[in-house]
Symmetry: C2
Subunit: 286 residues, 2 copies
C-alpha cells in the first residue's frame, strides 16, 4: 500500500473540539429526528447521530411514529418542531414508508431548520452553488475532509459516480461551485474506466461493492469512497451496528496505485456525521 | 462543409402547427411578461416572444414597470397574475435591476405558472430530473431538437460548457436524467479541448465567441451551440433585432469536421421560443 489515507475518524475527532466549544455558547440547539416505522438501519443511523450529538453537547429529540402513520400525523410533528424555538434542526429520517408523500413531508420542514438541505429552497441554494448554500451532510463532510487535507478543487477534474439527491447531485454542484470540471457517471455510463482514469479525483457514491478496482484508477489520483454497502458480519463501524461495511472501492488493490484514498469504514462515514452537525451549527448561528 | 445542419427554424416551424391546434382547444392560456426597466435586449426578446405567441394563438400581457420600481410594486404585479385564472404562464424578464432581490421576486411566482422553471419548486424538480420536470425554455428547446433528429442521449458522453441556472445547470440535469454521462466545463476548466474531444455531443453555453474551434472537435460529433453573442451589424435573427448574432462555435471550421451542428442564428434560438410555449402548454394542460 502506497496511498495516503484520508482519515475521516481522525479529522472528525480533531474538528469535534471546535464544535463542542461553539455549541457550548448556544442555548437553543436541539436537533429533532423524526422516524416513521422502525427500519433497523434507520434506527442504527439515528443511534449514531444521537451518540455524536451527546458528545458535542447537542440535545436531540427522537420523535417516533408507527409505520402506518398518516401524512397528517407526520406533518403535525414537523409543524410542532417548526414552531419550537429550542429546535434548530429537523431531520426526517429517510427512507419513509412508501405510502407517504416524501416531497410534501420534506417541504413541510422550515428551510431554516432543514439540516439535511432537502427542501426546495435548500436544493435551489445548492444547485445554484451559492456562497451560503447548505450542503447535504455527506457533501459537507467530504468538503470538510478535502479542506482539511488541503486538496483544492479549483481546475481539477472530478469524476463522480452516482446521481442521487442525497449525494451525487449535490456533490457535483459543490465541486462545480469550487471550480472543478465535473463528470457525472452512473449505471448507464458506457465506459466507466475511460472516465475515471482521466480524473484527478474520483468520488464513488454508487453503492456497488468493488465497482472501482485497479482497472479504474491511475497513479496520483485521489479516491473518495462514499459507498456504504453492508454485508453481514462483525461490527466494524460506529454508524451501523452489527454489519460489516464495505465501500465501492477495492481498497486493497486501489490503495497500491493511487496517491490518496478514504477507507470504508472510517472515511466518509464519520465525516457525514460531522457534516450534519456543522450544518446544525450554521443554522443555529444564522 | 460536411456536417448535417440541425435546423432550429425548420423544426420550430414544423412543431408550431401542433401547438396551434392544441392551444386552439384551450380558453385560459394568457402569458404574462413582467418587464422592469427598458433594457433594449429585454425589449427585443419580449418582442420575439409576443410575435410567436400571436402566431400560435396565445394572448400575452406585457406588464411594464419603471427601472426604479420597488420590490413591492413587482410583487403586486406577480400576485395579480397569480390570482388571474386566465393567466397560465408568468415570465419575469431577466435581468432585473440590481436594486431588486431576484430570488424573492422569482419565488413569488406560483410554481404552476412558472413557465421559465426558476422557482425553488421547479428547480428542485429539474435538479431531481423527475419525469414531470419542467425544463427552462432553452433546455426544453434543445431536448425537442434532439428528439426531432432522433438523437438519443442514453449512454452518450455529453460535454456541456457553462454552468448558469438558465442553461448549463438544467441542461446537465436534463442530460443526466436521459442517462447521458455528463461533463460540466466552464471558464476554470484546465484543458477544454481535452474534455470536448472526448465527447459524443458538445453543447456550448458559455457566451464566448470562437470558444469552440477546429482544435476542440473531432469527426462524428454533434455540436449544439447555445451561445448568443451579439456583435453590431445587420438584423440576422428573429430574436434580437438590429444585432448580428454569433454563437460560441466557429461554425465555418467546425462544420467541416463534425457530423451534426446547430447554426447561430437559426439553431437553439428559435427552439428556445418554441420550448417556452411547449412549457406554457404543459402548464395549461396540467
Amino acid at each position: 500500500m502506497s496511498a495516503q489515507i484520508l482519515d475521516g475518524r481522525k479529522v472528525r475527532d480533531l474538528l469535534t473540539r471546535g464544535l463542542v466549544e461553539k455549541f457550548a455558547n448556544l442555548s437553543a440547539k436541539t436537533m429533532a429526528i423524526i422516524q416513521v416505522g422502525d427500519r433497523a438501519e434507520s434506527t442504527s443511523y439515528i443511534k449514531g447521530k444521537k451518540a455524536f450529538a451527546e458528545k458535542i453537547g447537542v440535545a436531540t429529540q427522537h420523535i417516533q411514529l408507527p409505520e402506518d402513520a398518516t401524512l397528517e400525523m407526520v406533518l403535525e410533528k414537523i409543524e410542532n418542531c417548526n414552531g419550537d424555538p429550542t429546535i434548530r434542526g429537523i431531520i426526517v429520517q429517510l427512507p419513509l414508508p412508501l405510502a407517504l408523500d416524501r416531497d410534501i413531508i420534506i417541504n413541510a420542514i422550515d428551510p431554516e431548520k432543514d439540516v439535511d438541505a432537502l427542501t426546495s429552497e435548500r436544493v435551489k441554494g445548492w444547485t445554484e452553488g451559492r456562497e451560503d448554500a447548505l450542503w447535504p451532510a455527506t457533501v459537507r463532510g467530504i468538503k470538510t475532509l478535502l479542506e482539511f487535507y488541503k486538496i483544492d478543487l479549483f481546475g481539477k477534474k472530478v469524476v463522480i459516480i452516482g446521481r442521487s439527491m442525497l449525494v451525487g447531485k449535490p456533490l457535483a454542484a459543490m465541486c462545480i461551485s469550487e471550480n472543478a470540471t465535473v463528470t457525472v457517471c452512473h449505471s448507464k455510463t458506457a465506459d466507466l474506466a475511460r472516465e475515471t482514469l482521466d480524473a484527478d479525483i474520483v468520488i464513488s457514491a454508487a453503492g456497488k461493492q468493488n465497482l472501482i478496482g485497479k482497472e479504474q484508477v491511475s497513479p496520483g489520483q485521489i479516491v473518495i469512497d462514499v459507498g456504504i454497502n453492508t454485508v453481514e458480519g462483525e461490527k466494524l463501524d460506529d454508524e451501523i451496528a452489527d454489519r460489516k461495511l464495505v465501500g465501492d472501492v477495492d481498497f486493497e488493490e486501489v490503495s497500491k496505485i493511487v496517491a490518496m484514498i478514504t477507507p470504508v469504514p472510517g472515511g466518509v462515514g464519520p465525516m457525514t456525521v460531522l457534516g450534519l452537525f456543522q450544518n446544525l451549527l450554521d443554522l443555529c448561528e444564522s
